[in-house]
Amino acid sequence: MTHISLWIIIGWLILSTVVGVLAGVKRKFSMEEWFVGQRGFGLILFYVVAAAEIYSAFAFLGLAGWAYKFGAPIYYAPMYNVLAYTLFFFIGPLIWKYGKTHGYVTQPDFFIHRYQSPSLGVAVAIIGFLFTIPYLQLQIMGTGMIIQVSSGGAINWQAAVIVSSLASIIFVTVSGLRGIAWTNFLQAILMLVTMFSVGFLFPHKFFGGVGEMFRRLAEVSPQHLILPGKAGTLGLGWYTSTTLMSALGFWMWPHLFLTTYSAKNIQIIRRNAVILPLFAFALIPIIIVGYTCFLMAPGLKEPDHAMLITLTRFFPSWVAGVVGAGGMAAAISTSSALTLSACTLFSRNIYQKGINPRASDDQTVRLARALVPVVTVLAVVLTFMRPKMLVTLLLLGYSGIAQFFPGVFLGLFWRRATKAGIYAGMIAGIGSLLAVNFGLLRFPFGLFFGFWGLLINLTVCLLVTLLTSPPPKEALDQFYSA
C-alpha cells in the first residue's frame, strides 16, 4: 500500500530531472548564461524561481515541526518573509542595477567593486560558502525524511538522499540557473497546491474545520497559541530579534543575489517584491497542519516528522505520495540553487579572482560545473555525520549570512562606508557567533544570538568606518554612476 506513494515521489523526481536537463540542453554556456540565466527572466519565471528557492524543506517540514513542538513562536517565519520582501522592494532594484551595469555574476563581485578590494571578495565568498552548507544540509535531510517516512520506511533516508542528490547533480551541471528555473516552475506549482490543500484537509478531516480545531487546541494546550510558546522560552524578545535578523539577512543569501541578477529588468524586481508576500500566505496552512498533528498524535520524538507521520497514519497512500512529492519539490528546488551558488562562489571568487586571476571565464564556468558533484557530496557526507533538527540548521545559516547586511546595505546607501569598516564588522560579528556556538559567551535578554552578532557587527563597522579615511572619490563615482 505504501508503494503508490513511493512511485508518485520517484515519478516526480524523474520528471523534474528531465525538465531541468531539457531546459539547458541546447544552450551554449557562457558565464552569464550558466550563472545568472543571461539576465533574461521575466515576471512569472522570476516569481516561481524566487518562490521555489525561498520556500524550502523548512517551509514544509520544519514549519509544521515547530508549530507542533513550540506553537506561536513559528509565526516569525511568514512575518519575516514579508518584511524581507519589503526590504527587497528598496534594495533589490539597486542590487540588480549595479549588477547589470558592472557585470557582476556573484555576490562577492559587488563587494570587490564597491570596496575596491579583491581580498574582501574572497572573504565574502568563503563565508558565504561556509554558511550555505548548513542550509544545504537542511534541504538534504528534509528530502531524506520525506522519502523515508512517506515510503513507510521502505527506503531509509540515507538511500533517499543519495538518489535525490544524484538527480539534482545532473540537472544543475547540465543547465545551470536555467535548469533550476524550469524545474522550480514545476516545484512551485506542486508546492502551492499541496500547501493549501493539506491546510484545509487536515483540520477538516479530524475536527470538521479550522475554527473547531483551534477551539480544541485552546482548551488542550493554550500555550501553543501565544508567545513564549509551549516550551516557555521563546518570548517577545526572541520573537522580535529573530524576525528582524531574518528579515535583514534574507537577501544577503548568495543564491538570492544570483537570482536577483537574473531578472530581465528593474520592473520585474519591483513587481516581484509586491507579489511575493502572497506566497507567504501559503505558510499559514502548514502551521495549521502542525497544530492538527499535535492534537492527533502528541508526543512524537521527531517533531519534524509530525506532518508526514500523520499523513501516512490517517490518509490513503496516494495523498501521502503527493504531499511527499510536494515536500521533496520544496527541498530540491532550494538545494539545487544553493549548490549552484556555492559552486559559483568558489570558482568565480575564490579561484578566478583569488587564486588564478588569469583563468578565463570559460574555464571558470567549467570549474563551477565540475564542482557541482563535489559540493553535493560534501554536504551529503556532512549530513550523514551530524544530523540536526531542521530549524537549528536554518538559524545557523541565517545568522552567518546576516553578517553581510552592513556591507551590502551601507555599500548601497552610504558613500562613506569603508573596506576596513566592513572587514572589522564582519570579523566581530562572525567571531561573536562562533564564541556563542562554542559556549564561550552568552547573550542577555533572551534575544536571538544571531541578532546580537548583527548588532555587534554594525557597531564595529560604523566605528571603524568613521576612524578610517573615506574611500577615494573617483572609484565611488564610477561605482555609483550606474
Binding site: F90, E212, F214
Partner: protein, 70 residues
C-alpha cells in the same frame, strides 16, 4: 528625496513596526477568535495582507515608469 519616496519609506517602516515589539506585546493573545483563528495568528495573517497592500502602494508611488529616469 522626493515626497513619494518619503511616503514609500514610511509605509515600509509601518510594515516592520506591526511585526515587532511593542505591537506583538498587545496582540499576543488567544481571545478573541477572528474567522476561526486565535487572535495572534489572525494578526499575523492580517499583517501579511497589510504589508502586501502597503507594498502595492509603494509600487504605485515609486515603481512606475517615472522613476526609471532617475
Amino acid at each position: 528625496m522626493n515626497k513619494r519616496m518619503k511616503i514609500a519609506i514610511l509605509l515600509a517602516i509601518i510594515n516592520f513596526l506591526g511585526a515587532i515589539w511593542p505591537v506583538t506585546y498587545w496582540v499576543n493573545r488567544i481571545q478573541p477568535f477572528v474567522f476561526g483563528l486565535p487572535f495572534f495568528l489572525f494578526w499575523t495573517t492580517l499583517w501579511i495582507f497589510v504589508c502586501f497592500i502597503n507594498l502595492a502602494i509603494c509600487y504605485r508611488l515609486i515603481g512606475g515608469k517615472r522613476e526609471t529616469r532617475t
